[in-house]
Homo-oligomer: 323 residues x 2
């Protein structure tokens, strides 16, 4: 029997103590703790890793502080396009939805794909039709609205016209030079995710996002790409957040597992090489959370901060924001 554990993230980026006021810090900390407690409860009750990560990501989607579900960022056209995925390491079963506009909880649609479809990935209206047939809740776009994201979108349109180049060194340098808005992080790297190992030693991962602020309509990042932003097998489970394109180009989530399986690396060292070496080599920024079947957890990121936390069954929850 493993000691069951769940880890979550709420996005990585230029989150610095200097730019974060006390009130906002308390809000994020409390939100992360509540989600961890809920995931911990699922595991303590004997629930599967798959159930724990689905519930944790559903709650992160419900929370307007994070860029997924309610609180998602806006596209260049002022619309919402959400992606989500979930994968069960015990069976390699997986489900994902991309570019959905009306699903209250994209992660529940991904879970329904995993449970009830012979397919793995559905996009756009087809994904919504599938989810609706499964009895999942559809909402009007207004449901996703938050004033903070709307203001952020207006600022992004003014400054960029289009989504910023994630690999534009000048942009990154300029961002680094000016005092960071705590929301800048979410603008570029906002994603939520969870990984868990249950008492049977099975692992699972789930990821959900609204994408990047002011993104071109139809852009899909790494979140619904199994192997990139989310992966789980009989070695490890991984959920990523960051400049999604670079996570796709490096198959970042699968690579954590592959280095463990083939090169004999530890979970920590494998994840470190992905986040600290492979992603930076192509200007990839962000982080990931990963758990292995022994219940080891690692939470590396190459940005200033990452909203994150860990809860082991029977122990207090731990939450961190900065580096």
């Amino acid at each position: 029997m493993s000691q069951a554990v769940i880890a979550i993230h709420g996005g990585a980026g230029t989150i610095t103590r200097a730019a974060m006021d006390a009130q906002r810090e308390r809000e994020y900390t409390a939100a992360l703790e509540q989600v961890l407690l809920a995931g911990q409860r699922v595991l303590a009750d004997g629930g599967s890793a798959l159930d724990a990560v689905t519930e944790a990501v559903r709650l992160l989607e419900e929370c307007p502080l994070f860029n997924a579900g309610r609180g998602a960022v806006l596209t260049h056209a002022g619309t919402y396009e959400l992606d989500a995925s979930v994968m069960d390491g015990a069976t390699l079963n997986a489900g994902a939805v991309a570019c959905v506009k009306r699903l209250r909880n994209p992660v529940l649609a991904a879970r329904a794909v995993l449970e009830h479809s012979e397919h793995v990935l559905f996009a756009a209206e087809g994904a919504e039709a599938f989810a609706q047939a499964q009895g999942l809740e559809l909402v009007a776009p207004e449901y996703f609205f938050t004033q903070a994201r709307h203001d952020q979108w207006l600022r992004a349109r003014e400054t960029a016209g289009m989504a910023l180049l994630d690999h534009d060194a000048a942009t990154l340098a300029a961002q680094a030079a000016k005092p960071a808005d705590p929301l800048d992080a979410d603008k570029k790297f906002g994603t939520v995710g969870a990984v868990a190992c249950d008492a049977r030693g099975n692992v699972a991962a789930a990821t959900s996002t609204g994408g990047v602020t002011n993104k071109q309509v139809g852009r899909v990042g790494d979140t619904p790409v199994l192997g990139a932003g989310c992966y789980a097998d009989d070695v490890a489970a991984v959920s990523c957040t960051g400049t999604g394109e670079m996570f796709i180009r490096t198959s970042a989530a699968f690579d954590v597992s592959a280095q463990m399986r083939y090169a004999g690396l530890s979970l920590e060292e494998s994840a470190r090489r992905v986040v600290m070496e492979k992603l930076p080599a192509i200007q990839g920024r962000g982080g990931l959370i990963a758990v292995d079947r022994a219940g080891n957890v690692t939470l590396p990121f190459n940005t200033e901060g990452m909203y994150r936390g860990v809860a082991r069954v029977g122990e207090p929850v731990n939450v961190w924001i900065y580096g």
Copy 2:
């Protein structure tokens, strides 16, 4: 300097000599040879692996015999939804489009994403808008029509109502027991792809598909999922065809490279393990083509046949259909 080489596939499945008449065999053989000659010419003229695979897949999309571009299969709704991807091993640059309905050549849209976007993957209308802004040709759905695919769709609707379960063992057994229609292959495993190694030792891969006959609207397979149906890095380039869901769940294309990089396997042994061990473990059927930086080529498949061929610069082209 490597000896430049290109390999292509036109889908894998229950393709048997018994079910293929001489006329149809000649048509497929001639089509594969023409595509290989064109790709070979690009490489002989000093073109890049990326240019060679793009041109080969464009020609495969133009040929109505294969399930990509013109000649694509129909969804349950009688519509066309195409996916394509391309990746340059030299830079890890990649581009992909999913669920596009009006692009004459999805692989050219994927290439345009690679060349002209900070993003990697676009879906549905957003992908078409991007391609149109890049000056690519849009067509009416009738462009993709072929009588053979339409008849196949009608048969699939009669027998299945929906797309067949790829992992339904009973279905596979039933198919194996009855005389195979040569088109059965395309119904389930139709994809086209190319991999190449140029004179500089750089490798690239491209993949394109219409998906599976009678598929649910919005279903996306492994083709536009970099790491699953297409991948290229500084070790190898891989293009896959088969039951796409299983290729996603195993990150099949990336795994070929990962086993070479981390476990020191040869290209041939790495690809063999993916196709003959890992995919069958989850009832995955199909094949892949792969090339490494030394110009080695391997074309494994676990089905009765796979349309495939190899052309080395300065040598005659070779084409095969059966196992």
